[in-house]
């Protein structure tokens, strides 16, 4: 029986081995044809058209632009909400608002994609010059709404852990609630807040459906949030839904892009957890 439990435990190890092996094996085939340098430093991404080009920078730029917009939205709203919930809200209000906000994290991403396309984009188009319906701003904002509860919950957990005595000391010196929040609580909880932000950004980088539906399918090396772009995840979806035969060079691109995505999110997750462990104050 113990052997059965051990075998069950091995499944999760095999999953990791499987992911790394699959990504590396197919990427190896890809990098036999396209040099790593051409992939990493190339500024044109067009594997599906002639002449082909395999520079992944436009996909990275698109991904980071979308995640960056989401990050700004989520950090502003999430941190504000966390400060309100931990420093201002009466307990009764907090117990109602928290689960409502967390509903946002449970809504399927395909629903957010629909919301971005059918509500947020028309809303933005009413006052911004957005040329085509697909734009990274709308996708980024909606993605920010999606990851906001992650930022607010994790940040609030860090703030609640700040001991009461620190707050009381500041109040005793005559500080206002705002001063207590920003000069005592937030600095003390900063590692938790930074980690929450990193983990939420990593979620945004790996998010697929919102950007596939609302941000378009145009690999585009740009910083303009009103343009259509393509993220790494959206590219993987595009190829896997297309007519590309398996085993071809074009099909192998999804493994190379997938490997890059895997590494980016893995590093961010490790850094996020490291920040918490390394810098959390113990009281």
């Amino acid at each position: 029986m113990l052997v059965v439990l051990l075998l069950a435990t091995l499944v999760s190890v095999l999953a990791t081995v499987g992911i790394i092996y699959t990504l590396l094996r197919e990427s190896y085939g890809f990098f036999q044809v396209v040099s790593v340098w051409e992939f990493i430093a190339g500024t044109r991404w067009a594997p599906l058209f002639e002449p082909q080009a395999f520079g992944v920078l436009p996909l990275i730029a698109g991904t980071l632009l979308a995640a960056g917009i989401a990050g700004i939205v989520a950090l502003t709203l999430g941190l504000g909400a966390a400060i309100y919930l931990s420093e201002y809200a009466p307990d009764r209000v907090r117990r109602i608002i928290k689960p409502v906000l967390e509903v946002l994290a449970g809504i399927p991403t395909v629903v957010y994609g629909f919301f971005a396309l059918s509500f947020v984009t028309p809303l933005l188009q009413s006052f911004l010059p957005i040329p085509v319906i697909f734009n990274v701003l709308s996708a980024g904002i909606v993605m920010g709404l999606m990851i906001m509860p992650m930022v607010s919950t994790l940040s609030e957990d860090a703030m609640v852990a700040v001991p009461r005595e620190l707050r009381d000391a500041a109040y005793a010196l005559g500080a206002t609630r705002f001063e207590v929040a920003t000069k005592v609580v937030v600095p003390a909880a900063l590692p938790g807040i930074v980690a929450a932000f990193i983990l939420a950004l990593s979620r945004a980088i790996g998010e697929t459906l919102i950007v596939t539906i609302a941000a378009g399918a145009t690999p585009n090396l740009t910083l303009n949030p009103l343009e259509s772009i393509q993220t790494m995840t959206a590219y993987i979806v595009q190829v896997s839904l297309g007519e590309t035969p398996q085993g071809t060079l074009v099909f192998k691109t999804i493994f190379a892009v997938g490997l890059l995505l895997f590494l980016m999110t893995l590093i961010m997750n490790i850094v996020g957890r490291w920040v918490v462990r390394r810098y959390t104050e113990r009281y």
């Binding site: 113990l2 439990l5 051990l6 069950a8 435990t9 499944v11 999760s12 190890v13 990791t16 499987g18 992911i19 699959t22 990504l23 197919e26 709203l77 941190l79 504000g80 909400a81 400060i83 309100y84 919930l85 201002y88 906000l101 946002l104 449970g106 809504i107 399927p108 991403t109 395909v110 629903v111 629909f114 919301f115 059918s118 509500f119 709404l145 906001m148 509860p149 010196l173 005559g174 206002t176 705002f178 929040a181 920003t182 980088i205 790996g206 697929t208 459906l209 539906i213 995840t233 993987i236 979806v237 896997s240 839904l241 398996q246 997938g258 995505l261 895997f262 999110t265 893995l266 957890r273």
Partner: protein, 311 residues
Amino acid sequence: MEREQPPLGSARVTSAIAASVTRPRFSASTLSTWRRWRDRFFFVLFFASVAIGILGLAALVIDVMTDGLGALDFSFLNSYPSRHAGESGIRAALFGTIWITVGTAAFAIPIGVGTAIFLEEFAPDHWAVRLVQLNISNLAGVPSIIYGILGLALFVQAFALDRSVLAGSLTMTLLVLPIVIIVSQEAIKAVPEEFRDAAFALGANRWQVVKTVVLPQAIPGIMSGIILALSRAVGEAAPMLMISSLVFLTFIPSSPNDRFTVLPVQIFNWVSLPQPGFQAVASAGIIILLAVLLSLNSIAIWIRNRYQTRY
């Protein structure tokens, strides 16, 4: 500057006197007004963050409802997809979702709970065990599309399962496995050590303790965690999009080897169609999907409240 500011409240009179000696009178009173206004301003701002989040949620729900309620009727539930928006239905996707969810549960529950029991009750404090634990939390952060790539290469191609219910369930199993393991571990950890000690003192061995003391206490927590993990699987589109692809299915899977589609994939399909009528159909599909998720979550919360014991 900051430190020289007079404190608010009871000590104000003395500090005002002190301030009038060291500094011009007006600076003390204007500063405290400024600080009070700043406090109020940011209170409004912080509250606004919460309000924007809730308004976003409300806008989403209203947007979906106004678009979709009109298209929602029994024939929508009972029809297959069609080229005509008015005749399209969600039957194939609904049954596909049930197949995938049941299949995922069949694999993920024994493997996930088994892993949690092993890690919490049997595993020694060894570097290899800590590595396994670290690996599980890393797997929980892997983007879902990566599981799609893995499923495509491993189950669809290498295991030659084709784009079947089985391949989809196995892919989904790997995706929810870290969640099932972590929530089960939490539930097992919550059982007080004294309970185990008491059973050991009566002469029970490890197995008997796990079977008769730990699991019965932990099962409500494990159950509600599993339901939340499965609701994640129900809403997950990216890996299923890669495994099932955008097929036009006019049948219900009758065996694990059949092709399938699921609710989020069907919704994605409708969202990406340019004809205007399909927006309403997509919204109607979203209402069904959200209703399924809402019921799953309510069951999880009900189990937690009904059976949760506090120690």
